[in-house]
Subunit: 199 residues, 2 copies
DNA sequence: TTAGCTATGTACCGTTCGGTACAAAACTAG
DNA sequence: CTAGTTTTGTACCGAACGGTACATAGCTAA
């Protein structure tokens, strides 16, 4: 029934290419010319399939969360609170310092896209971040193995903050090895029990 | 001897206006029109006094470091290692969540300016960051009051990372109060001694 | 083959970008 | 007043931006 000329590219594959470019160069640093070149299509095709640049970024962000960023949601399924946090921090290191992927985190990058056209994109990224932290807080509320000095909400915010810091460090060019050391040290600081009373 | 028409604006004041705009909207998110409007001058005056956009940003970055960012260098003069770190973290919170200043950190923002024209600016920001962390490391090497699990270089990197995370949180709209709580909790995690052996 | 549909490639739109040429304006030195 | 110097305002430059009109190519259904 539909007929018509068949599409000459794979939409999912093109979306992955767009993800790569947005991740590496940021929302505002990526032009439509960059996108079409990387995706191997022309502008009319891009608009027909993905909408405008802003809408395309929305789809890229969703794909980022269910692809490279899926470690975060997966980590919440770990059996103990400590393991949840360990997997989050180590996952952040692996994601942001990956050898084959751009350094840094697409979501953290997007928070810093402050141009006049990027307002909606920024709000999207912030919403995603809020939702992620809320999920972590709910998970930590059900853990009983964490150092007693922590309130779940505050600990979730701190873990989120450290994860953000790792993304910045990666974006600033810190080597994967160094980043891994920082992550491990952060875990050590986070998960060490406070001083026991002697005797 | 020189003569000539007198300048109709104060260069230092104009630089502060430029700092405000760059801080709030980022390097790439700020246009020359934004700058001239905020500084109250026209483009030829801007170019005559500050050079092009990239050179202007360099001067803005220097002013940022010796103005709002001076807390970081000052903190190194604190008497103990713990106080150095406390002042750094609390200073980062105050800087990035200031009521009268833009949220976030100009230097962290600039690391995420990934457009084609922003390469030099990004390298400037990274150089500043490296120098700051090196100074912190040297200071921590001379402290003897820090938890024994820390190597100075690793601790300096972790403090830097947490400071970056706070800047991201501020840029993402976290309230000053929440940010303060996160900072205090980070200090608690960083500076708490490891478990003592019981008896 | 033909009609109808969708995707493709090209060529273009108006706007905004960073940057500059140029003349009028405002000062100092003589 | 005049000559020389520097800043100011305006008007403009070529390039790149996001986005689109339009004709053609390539398919399906009859």
């Amino acid at each position: 029934m539909p007929g018509g000329r068949p599409r000459a590219f794979d939409a999912d594959n093109a979306l992955d290419r767009a993800l790569e470019v947005f991740w590496r160069h940021g929302y505002e640093g990526t032009s439509l010319a960059d996108l079409t070149a990387a995706m191997g299509i022309n502008k009319p095709s891009l608009y027909a399939v993905f909408g405008n640049k802003e809408q395309l970024f929305g789809k890229v962000l969703a794909r980022y969360l269910e692809g490279p960023g899926a470690y975060a949601a997966d980590a919440l399924a770990a059996p103990t609170g400590r393991e949840v946090i360990e997997r989050l921090i180590r996952g952040a290191v692996d994601l942001t310092a990956g050898e084959t992927t751009p350094h840094g985190c697409l979501c953290v990058n997007s928070v810093h896209a402050c141009g006049p056209d990027a307002h909606a994109v920024r709000q999207d990224a912030i919403a995603v971040r809020k939702a992620g932290e809320a999920a972590l807080r709910r998970r930590l509320e059900q853990a009983d193995d964490l150092p007693s000095r922590y309130e779940p909400a505050a600990l979730a915010a701190l873990v989120h903050t450290i994860s953000d810091g790792l993304a910045v460090q990666a974006a600033a060019g810190r080597s994967p090895d160094e980043l891994r050391q920082i992550g491990e040290l952060a875990l050590c600081a986070l998960l060490t029990e406070g001083p026991h009373h002697i005797e």
